[in-house]
Every structure is written in C-alpha cells, then in structure tokens.
Amino acid sequence: MISKFQIAFNNLLRKKARTLLTLVGIMLSSWVLVSLLGFNRGYEHALNRDIDNMGYQLMVMAKGCPYEAATMMLKGGGGLRYIEQSMVDNIACKTEVADVTPILMQAFFDPDKGDGGGIAGYFGVDPVSYPGMKPFLRFHKGGWFQEAEASEAVMGYEAAELEQRDVGDMIMVPEKNVKLTVVGILERTGTQDDGTIFVPLKTLQHISETDKITTIGIKLKKDADSAKLENVLYQLPDVQVVSLTQVKQTIIKLISTARVMVFSIALIALLIAMVGVVNTVLMSVLERKQEIGILKTMGAMPADIFRLVWTETLILCSVGGIAGIGLAVVFARLSDIVIRRILPYAPGGELVAIDLTLALLTLGVIVFVGLLSGIYPAWHAGKVRPMESIRSEG
C-alpha cells in the first residue's frame, strides 16, 4: 500500500530544482528567524550574567558619559579618567554600603597583538576586597595573589589560552617591559572575566606610575535604598554614579531598537519564502490538474486532495525549517562573531543561544505560516473537477 505521504513526497521530487530552491528559501528564513530569537534570548541572558557577575551594584567613576564608562568597564577598555583612592574610605562608611573595592583599569599598546598590534587591558584589583565580591570565581589552576604588591597576575581562562600561559609562566606588560608571574588561571565563566588579566591594584598603580584609581565598585547591603545612596554619592566632587541596573536597561533598550529592525527583515524573509511556497505548490497543482482529476475518478474526495497538497507544503516547510535550524546551530559561533563585530558592546558568553524549545518554536512558526500559505493551492486543487481534466484531454 502506498500512503498519501509517499504520494505527496513523490510529487515534490518531480521538479527537483524547483523544490530545492523553495527549500533553500524556507531554510534561510528559518535560519534568520531562529538566530534572531536565539540572539534575543542569548544577549539578554549574557548581559544579565555579565552585570550580575560584577559582584557590585553601583560604580563610582570620574565624570563623563556614564554609559560609555559602564560599557568600558564591562568591556575592559581604557582611556578612563581617574579618581582619588581616598574616596574609597569615604564611601565605605555609608550605612547602605556592605563593601567597596577600588579598581584601576589600564590599557597598554601591545605591538605583538593581532596583525597591527592591539590594546592589552589590565585590571588592578584589591586582593582582599575584590575576591570577596566575586566568591563565585573558581580557579582552573593556582589562586589569587599572595601579596598586595606582588609582581603577579591572575588570568581569565580565555586570556591564558590566547597568550598560551600556565601557572608559573611570565607575562610581559607591553610598553612598560614589566614581567609578572602568572599565579592563577580562572575557570571559564562565560563572562568578560574570561578575557581579563588581573593584577594587584598597587602593582598596577606602580607600573602605571599613578596612585589613583578609575572605579570604585560598591556592593549594597541587603534591602539598602540604592537611590538614596546614589543621591549622596552625587554630592562627591567630580564623580558620577552608575547603577548597573540602569546600564542593563539602557543597553537592552538600545539593542531593542536594532532588534525590531532585524525582526522586520526576518519577517520579510519569511514572507518571501512563503510566497515561494505558494508559487511552488500552486504551479505544481496547475501542472497536475489532469492528474488530480484522475485521482478524483479513483475516489479521492476534495478533502483528500486538499490534504495531499497540504502535506506537500508541510513536507517543504518541515524539511526547510529543520535544515535552517540545523544551519543556525552549526553556524551559531559564526553568527556570534558577526554580531560581536557589529554591536558596540557585546557581553561575554554565548550571544546566540538556541535550545530545543526555541528550535521547536521556530519550526512551529515556519510550519504554521507555511500551512497558511498552502491553503490556497490546496483549496484550488480540491475543487478541480474530474470532468475538467478529461475534457481537456481532447
């Protein structure tokens, strides 16, 4: 016995090139759609993780664009203005504050980095307060610095991998020609910490010939009034306060605008693919009009013919959809790289997160829209009368 599914499948094989082109169209739409949905989810998740993993809720830094400052802080960039370290004690005594940690970010030009050289970023952190704010950091090898002024460094997992350094190896601070011993390599966190090189604050200040810092991270007490503290901190001279919650919201808002545009493009791609489906299936129906009439003489009801043609649409959309999702999964890393090049700020970790739920959702959308597109050709086929085919025979 032959099933209706086999008949539908065989019908699609008759015009292989046309079927293949339609499949490519659906596959591309599915790829774009699932990648965008994956990005939608992955970016927010990665951003949340990056910000939550900073260990503090507020940052105090020298005046300037607060969002640029926060972004640089997240990205580990350089070029920030400095603030006095004495301000740390001033902030630590506020009632809302649980802990504070001074940070100095420095960037040096490394001529050996990349093709034409690049910036090597260093995080000067306090060996006492900083690890306490990030208790979730685990070491792949070694541990934190032993002394406040040690010529030592702790490398993020990716930084160590990139520089091919192990515990006990030396790293050279470019421009300054200072050697540091690697005493610890962090486990992979999926955040910006992976690409960071941590150095004791005082050591980095010494290398940079400064006694200032760039940022103060503030961890609030549980149930502390963040807004009240922000108002107090704004009274301090020449500083700005950045709430990481606000930063998160602002970045998400910025990304949302771009997302709407990209979703519109995805929608257009989906519509074009579906017009392709209508064209392919309708052409196939018109070409087989006589044959459909003959199927009706064999006893096929209009509903049988409708289902047969709809099954063809279902096969096209399912195969194209699954292939597109497969491509999106295979090339997720590539999409990640492309997105990172386009966006001004991209958090660490997986930017395009495609899981089974998302894959099924995309497939559902593709199949649903495809079946909607298949209604007209299927209805057209269902109403073919056997006499039409026989009369047109001659």
């Binding site: 065989n10 006589q290 003959i294 006893g299 096929a300 209009p302 049988d304 009368r385 026989i390 001659g394």
Partner: protein
C-alpha cells in the same frame, strides 16, 4: 422508465448542453439506453459526436442537463434527484473503474505503487487489494518495480487497467483506451478487456475510434450529433 433486474445502467432522454459564451452546444441530445450487468458495450462515432460526453455522464463524472439516469436501481439524476460532487465521488469509487487514452500514471511511482494508488484514498470493504495478483493477471508482474517511463505504451495501459480494477469495480469505463497505441498493442489491450468481460463478467463501457476494437464488445452503439444509434 422501467428498471429491470440485472440492469447496470439505464438512461432516459439524457441531454447535456454546454454553454460557450452565448452559444448553446447540445453535446448529447436525448439519449435513452440500458446497459445490462456483464455487457461489453462499445460507443463509436466521429469526434464531437457526443460519445465521450455520454460515457462521462454514465460514469457519474458530471451531471446531465436533463433526463434520467439510474445506476443499479438507484436514481442518480432526474425525478428531482441531483447529486453533488461528494455523492458522485462516493458512487464513482464504489462502482466504477476508469481508463483513459493518456494512461495518467504518476511518473515517480513504480508500476506497483501506481496500481495501489486508489487504495490510498479508498479501499472497498471486503477486497484484498492484492496488487501483485492483479498485475500477474495482466501479465505485468515482471515490471512491478519499474517506473512508467521504463515501460511501453501498451504496458502502461495494462497498468492503468490494473489500477482501475484494484477496487473491484462493477463497471469499467474506457475512454479511447487504445487511442495512443499501435495496431498490435491496441489488439492486445482489446483482448485484455474482452477477457476481463468474459472471465469475470465485468461490465465494460468503452468509447473508441477503432472499429476492430469496437467490434470486440458484444454491443456496438454508434453516436452521431449527440444521438445514439444501435444496430
């Protein structure tokens, strides 16, 4: 109209009018006839004589414009009965098997799959749907796994006959079954139909241009200008 026992089809004053713009074309003009179960009836006549229209009406492929049509004692048309497309389909799949001049085999399906095709839509209760036996009976068992493109025209028509018979129809309607075949193959198909009629008592209603094939049936009806003339 009297309907006698053993009558497969009965038509009374059957008329079919087509409209082409404002023009009325009377394709069938008051044909009355009775076909008994087990008969092999051939319709012959020139192109446009109405023979295909008549066979299409008898085969419930469309409704007549007027007249009466009975099928095995059941009124199909006339006396207030007009069946819709769904009801006609139900009758077609229960009663009829059809073969055509152009075979209409699906090129991507094998001979076996083509013959089994009607069973994908409807399988009459009590039939075994044994495709292989049917193909053996028609001498096509050795071509079972071939595609239509790999067999000759005569073989294609044998496959089409097997397909028409797979649901064990009561009446086989054949519209120019040898129209695309040479004399030798036409003779072979004619013999197959004659054999089916004699051995299994299958009622066959055939339209043909070929006088040799037309004479194979026990009854020959000539069609001219939409009317039927029987010698």
């Amino acid at each position: 109209m009297m309907f006698e026992q053993g009558t497969a089809l009965a038509a009374h004053d059957l008329t079919r009018v087509y409209h082409r713009g404002n023009e009325k074309i009377r394709a069938l003009d008051g044909v009355s006839l009775t076909i008994r179960s087990g008969e092999f009836v051939s319709f012959m006549g020139p192109s446009g004589s109405g023979k295909t229209t008549l066979v299409n009406l008898l085969g419930c492929l469309e409704n007549p414009s007027s007249g009466k049509l009975h099928l095995g004692g059941r009124s199909i048309f006339g006396n207030g009965t007009i069946l819709g497309e769904q009801a006609l389909t139900r009758i077609r799949r229960e009663v009829f098997g059809y073969i055509f001049q152009n075979f209409y085999l699906i090129p991507t399906l094998t001979v076996r799959e083509n013959v089994a095709l009607p069973l994908a839509f409807y399988k009459k209760s009590g039939i075994d749907g044994d495709v292989e036996t049917l193909l053996k009976m028609l001498g096509m068992d050795h071509r079972m796994n071939h595609l239509p493109g790999q067999i000759s025209g005569g073989e294609m028509q044998r496959v089409a006959i097997a397909r028409a018979l797979v649901n064990r129809p009561e009446i086989l309607l054949a519209d120019e079954p040898t129209g695309n075949l040479d004399t030798k193959r036409s003779g072979e198909i004619g013999e197959v139909l004659q054999d089916l009629n004699r051995r299994s008592g299958l009622t066959i209603v055939m339209v043909t241009h070929n006088p040799l094939i037309g004479r194979l049936g026990g009854r020959l009806i000539e069609m001219r200008d939409g009317r039927a003339y029987e010698n």
